[in-house]
Amino acid sequence: MSTPSPDSPLEAAIVAVGTAAFAQGEFVALRKTPPAFPGVELAGHFLKHADEQTIVALEAVRRAAERFELDTRDHERWAIVAAPKFVGRLAGVQILERFAKSGGSGVPPHAVAQNSLHSVSGAVSIALGIHGPNVGLGGGPWAMADGLTAALTLFDTARIPGIWLLLTQFDPEPTPDEQGRPLAGTTCHAVALALMPGAAGNSRLSLYPGSAGRELSRDKPTLDKPTLDKRPEPSVAEVAACVESAERGLATRWSCWLPWGGRIELRLAAAEQTLRRAA
């Protein structure tokens, strides 16, 4: 195992990518038709109570697998790393309301299973029939950074041949009304990246550890007034735009600084043939 440095970052080859984005109004129909993956029969109600980020992530995986002609039955030992952001905010408004009215008996039994940090990765592992690890990363501000970092550092954790990295979030983050409906239009985005160890091909994800980021925490905050990171937080939509540029035939590169001083870089070759060769 190598120690990463600015010259030799931690890297993974990207062997497939897919994006999906849905407006809030589209989820009613999407819940009724779970996507089909080879070798898996999902119940028709599988997505009935699923978080919106689960649904959009599944569609991004389906599109990536279809576009790059991957048979997900070959991924039985792969890992699912999902980095959702604020899972369950919309459903949570109703759950809090029901709890306020009826106490514990009013809490729906699917709340924890469907609206927690593990929910996206767990549901996707079931939908794809994947028996490798499944884990959620982030969940709040800078969730995507957590997911990208973990995906690049998990590889030899459990002898994992590949990872489906799923980045999801609403953009803008919805402000719910009292019934849990967004007060303004919002879109739920997902990017699915199929990663394999190494850096074969021209499409890759890289992590440059950088400095310790000591400068970020030099001024010790007080308990009641934490110092918030000033760096602009990247969005899933930015990454999706990068993927869509590559799909249009433009080689693209996207990078972002992480709050702790590291840097992530995503490089996508223009031609999908290049991606296929890596696979």
């Binding site: 759950i95 106490g103 809490v107 990765s121 959620g136 969940g139 970092t149 905050p221 702790w260």
Partner: protein, 404 residues
């Protein structure tokens, strides 16, 4: 061969104590922390069975009144993380180190929103107020810098946190890494599990409500707490003559790919997680001195784990000691795996097996296991295996080994 990674510090907040000595004393005495507790539901206090942390210590250097004003989840996580850093001798000596933090979290934002709502707030409807994650908060309060992440695999979150931290240390991404998880008792979560009929209803006998593997179990008892460990490479620990509690020797993880809530009837995925951890640690099953089972005290879960254990341990099933410390601590949900890693450290340090209390009549379907009923017993424990399984079909196993 990758360098060994050792645990050289720990911070605890558990229903059975906030130091390793207290936890060891209570676990090995077979004391139950489960009792009648009360959930605030609006104006009502609703009695239920639970395992609570009665006092969260104010970490060294923090102002007590300001600490007390923090949300409880932040108190729990900060106390454990600061405790681990202090225990490792690095609280005031980490300026030149990249200190990573990985915190296992099941429902950080739900806990946050609910705690806020209980106080009359409506933070959930104001996303601009959700500005800082728990792990970022802990990092800033400790004044350390390095890679951070929140990781969620429901009740298996803590094992993932420890595994990811070990990878970060090995990759050189950080010099040392804090890893663990924290959980608070949340009435909404308790209501959720109650409505799933997963909780014990033994209100008249709360100390005997958590009874993993017992024929008369009727569900688990929800608890709260936290455990955070400091991980560093063996060479780093030797260089600074740090005390080593254990080596993080192996980790394995799989998914059932079966159901979001119910454990799979097929024991193979859970068995594969155990086998993966054993292979990672390069150890054969017969050399495991103690298994800390996930066993929560639900019929379906306990039986599924017993089947998986039989697959892995084969002829050694009858001689490999297995217990569930949840019989004493309750089920600490997101924090369960981390606190149970601490229980494994107790077994290694004390050369003793924590018991499964309340195991009066083992379920025949779990009967082949080498239970440790009621009372602790002395044993040679060099290596432990700790299972933690979670919603979403997550199966994880962690191997800790005594440092020579």
């Amino acid at each position: 061969m990758p360098e060994q990674v050792w645990i050289t510090g720990l911070g605890l907040a558990t229903p059975l104590g906030d130091t390793l000595d207290a936890l060891a004393e209570n676990l090995l005495a077979g004391r139950s922390a489960t009792r009648q507790v009360f959930d605030r539901q609006g104006d009502r206090l609703v009695p239920c069975v639970g395992a609570a942390v009665e006092r969260i210590n104010v970490p060294q250097g923090f102002e007590p009144a300001a600490f007390a004003a923090l949300p409880r989840l932040r108190q729990m996580a900060l106390a454990c993380a600061a405790g681990a850093l202090a225990d490792a001798g690095l609280l005031d000596d980490s300026d030149d180190l990249r200190v990573g933090i990985v915190l296992g979290q099941g429902g950080e934002w739900y806990r946050t929103w609910q705690e806020d709502a209980a106080g009359g707030g409506d933070q959930i409807r104001h996303p601009q107020r959700d500005r800082q994650s728990l792990v970022s908060f802990v990092q800033q309060q400790l004044g350390v810098s390095g890679a951070i992440a929140s990781v969620g695999a429901a009740c298996a979150s803590g094992n993932y946190a420890i595994a990811l931290a070990r990878q970060w240390v090995r990759h050189g991404l950080v010099d040392v890494c804090l890893a663990g998880s924290a959980e608070i008792a949340c009435p909404i979560t308790r209501g959720n599990f109650q409505n799933l009929r997963a909780l014990s209803r033994r209100m008249d006998d709360p100390e005997r409500a958590s009874r993993p593997f017992d024929r008369d179990r009727d569900g688990f008892v929800m608890g709260e707490g936290g455990a955070v460990f400091l991980l560093e490479s063996a060479s780093s620990a030797r260089r600074r003559s740090a005390r080593a509690y254990a080596e993080v020797a192996g980790f394995g993880a799989t998914s059932d790919a079966s159901h979001m809530v119910i454990p799979s009837e097929n024991p193979a995925p859970a068995a594969d997680a155990m086998r993966g951890a054993l292979a990672d640690a390069q150890i054969d099953p017969e050399n495991i001195g103690y298994v800390n089972a996930h066993a929560t005290s639900t019929t379906v879960g306990d039986r599924a784990e017993a089947r998986a254990l039989r697959l892995v341990f084969g002829p050694h099933t009858a001689t490999t000691p297995v217990s569930s410390t949840k019989s004493m601590t309750g089920h600490l949900v997101s924090a369960a795996a981390a606190v149970e890693a601490a229980a494994c450290i107790v077994a290694i340090q004390q050369q003793a097996l924590p018991p499964t209390i309340n195991l009066d009549q083992p379920d025949p379907d779990c009967g082949e296991l080498c239970h440790v009923p009621h009372q602790a017993r002395a044993a040679r424990v060099e290596t432990t295996l700790s299972n933690s399984f979670g919603f979403g079909g997550s199966n994880t196993s962690l191997v800790l080994r005594k440092v020579a």
